[in-house]
């Protein structure tokens, strides 16, 4: 297996982008990544996207994007695994370079979600849960995470305030991210009193509906040295699957798929949770971040809420989480999210994060997740000196 590095990153300003089409978003982010890497060609490409068919009536994205990037006839493959489509696109790019099949791979992700109504977006997103046995009976994604929140509060004594503090922290970080969709600083009270979505979760507990894309360039460490880029090496890669239906998981306070993907990544990297300097995690809903911290081994099970309350996950804390603003502030164009997390890891490891820079950051972890925990990826990146 060859050593692999991330040498280019690109991302556009995310939000409700009426003037931009699905392909505009993807091409824009990809061109930024290609320019950043300084590569003169691309050998292969992966496009993470969950539901362009329902959102934009457009499938067949691999070739569409290769065409508009002027990259045909390279192999171009669309990856779908709900909200971890981007994370898996990155993993496929990593494996293709590591395996020696290609030297330079573009891994991108995109979602153009605001061409449909809010109800329409809820419908499209709900196709990531078990259509016949969950969605048929009326459950939604906020509803699934609300049920995890209720179970977590009941079993571990996690408070409503602690759950809201995830949103407060991520919005605070997002204020420094120029690409973030929302630049707001809601208080715990604002969040607890915001519009109800699925009790106990409110609108300010939920990641938004977003248009956006992100892209990165993967190559060998050898080639990265030739390009004269800082060497940001991919040292761990994990992916796991689990039941689509939340009700079929034995412990409703857990998101087991994250632990399974993390075990694989930690083993490959030969690292432990305490070796990680900072992380980007999939806070699609506030409660998710608390549970993920527990699954990644950053805190004891049931102690996620207390850790956030104590400031352990703040930029200056023991284990800073979502210094980009997370999905909550940055936005969540589902197919792009996993790639944007890698974008942030690279920014941190290049010491380019400004106000949200984690001092002395050498090792970062990205956790991306599909559905209510039916799929996940975990990647660990290290800055080589």
């Amino acid at each position: 297996m060859r050593d692999v590095a991330v040498v280019g990153i690109g991302m556009n300003k995310w939000g409700e982008l009426w003037d931009k089409d699905l392909r505009d978003l993807y091409v824009e982010a990809s061109l930024l990544a290609i320019e950043d890497a300084g590569v003169d060609h691309i050998d292969s490409m992966y496009v993470g996207c969950m539901s362009s068919g329902l959102f934009n009536c457009q499938e067949h994205l691999g070739s569409l994007m290769a065409d508009h990037l002027g990259l045909t006839p390279i192999p171009a493959t669309r990856i779908e695994s709900a909200c971890v489509s981007g994370g898996i696109a990155f993993r496929m790019g990593f494996m293709e370079v590591a395996g020696g099949f290609s030297d330079i791979v573009l891994a991108g992700g995109v979602e153009k979600m605001t061409d449909v109504s809010g109800d329409g977006a809820t419908f499209a997103l709900a196709t990531a849960c078990d259509q016949e046995w969950e969605a048929y009976n009326g459950i939604t994604f906020p509803g699934l995470y609300a049920m995890i929140a209720r179970a977590h509060m009941h079993k571990h004594g996690t408070t409503r305030e602690q759950i809201a503090m995830v949103s407060v922290k991520n919005h605070k970080n997002g204020m420094h991210n120029p690409n973030a969709q929302y630049h707001l600083t809601p208080s715990v009270e604002d969040i607890i009193n915001s519009v109800k979505v699925a009790e106990p979760l409110n609108i300010l507990d939920c990641s938004p509906i977003t248009d956006g894309a992100a892209a990165v360039i993967l190559t060998t460490v050898e080639k990265a040295k030739e390009l004269g880029k800082p060497i940001i090496r991919v040292i761990g890669a994990g992916q796991a699957s689990n039941t689509l239906a939340l009700h079929n998981r034995s412990d409703l306070t857990r998101i087991q798929v994250t632990e399974d993907a993390a075990k694989m990544a930690y083993k490959m990297a030969d690292k432990k949770p305490e070796d990680i300097d900072f992380a980007e995690v999939h806070d699609c809903f506030t409660i998710a971040e608390l549970v993920i911290m527990e699954e990644l081994g950053f805190v004891e099970r049931g102690k996620g809420g207390a850790a956030v309350e104590a400031g352990e996950t703040d930029v200056g804390g023991r284990i800073p989480i979502n210094t980009s603003g997370g999905l909550k502030s940055k936005g969540h164009p589902v197919g792009a999210t996993g790639v944007a997390q890698i974008h942030t890891l690279v920014e941190q490891l290049r010491c380019d994060m400004g106000e949200c820079q984690v001092k002395g950051a050498k090792i970062g972890l990205a956790q991306n997740m599909g559905g209510s925990g039916g799929s996940a990826t975990v990647h660990i990146l290290e800055a080589m000196s």
Binding site: C57, D119, G120, F123, W133, N137, T140, A245, L246, H247
Partner: protein, 133 residues
């Protein structure tokens, strides 16, 4: 343009499950699968058809205020994960129960109810909901 998640063929296919909770059972694992599966995780393919009991317990729940388009007229409604006496679990709406009386551990009974009205023709789609006992 809109997509419909319930078509007549898809609806008819699952009537045994939606109408009478027909599951299958792995005797090796003492495990009920709902909906029925072709193979148990243990590898056993000799699974026996069984009907699940019509009583259970609420494991967790939520009140949905922003449903998908096909449930817009129902909002707000309660929905939860119910563990049936045999250990099998379902996600089902909790009907006819004041929201502030719903709690984890509450005993419920399964009832046959209308779930959705589908498409322009207004086809009625039925299934299971639960009510407080």
């Amino acid at each position: 343009m809109s997509f419909e998640s319930v078509t007549p063929a898809r609806y008819a296919r699952f009537m045994p499950q939606r109408y009478r909770l027909e599951a299958n059972y792995c005797a090796k694992c003492d495990l009920h699968h709902f909906p029925p599966r072709q193979i148990c995780k243990c590898g056993n393919k000799e699974l026996e058809t069984r009907t699940l009991p019509d009583e259970g317990e609420v494991l967790t729940y939520t009140i949905i205020h922003t449903p998908g388009s096909q449930f817009s007229d129902e909002r707000p409604f309660a929905i939860g994960i119910i563990e049936l006496a045999t250990g099998a679990r379902i996600t089902a709406q909790i009907a006819d129960t004041p929201f502030d009386e719903i709690e984890i551990g509450m005993r419920v009974k399964i009832e046959f109810r209308r779930i959705q009205t589908v498409g322009e023709a207004g086809v009625l789609a039925y299934g299971y909901k639960v009510v407080s006992m």
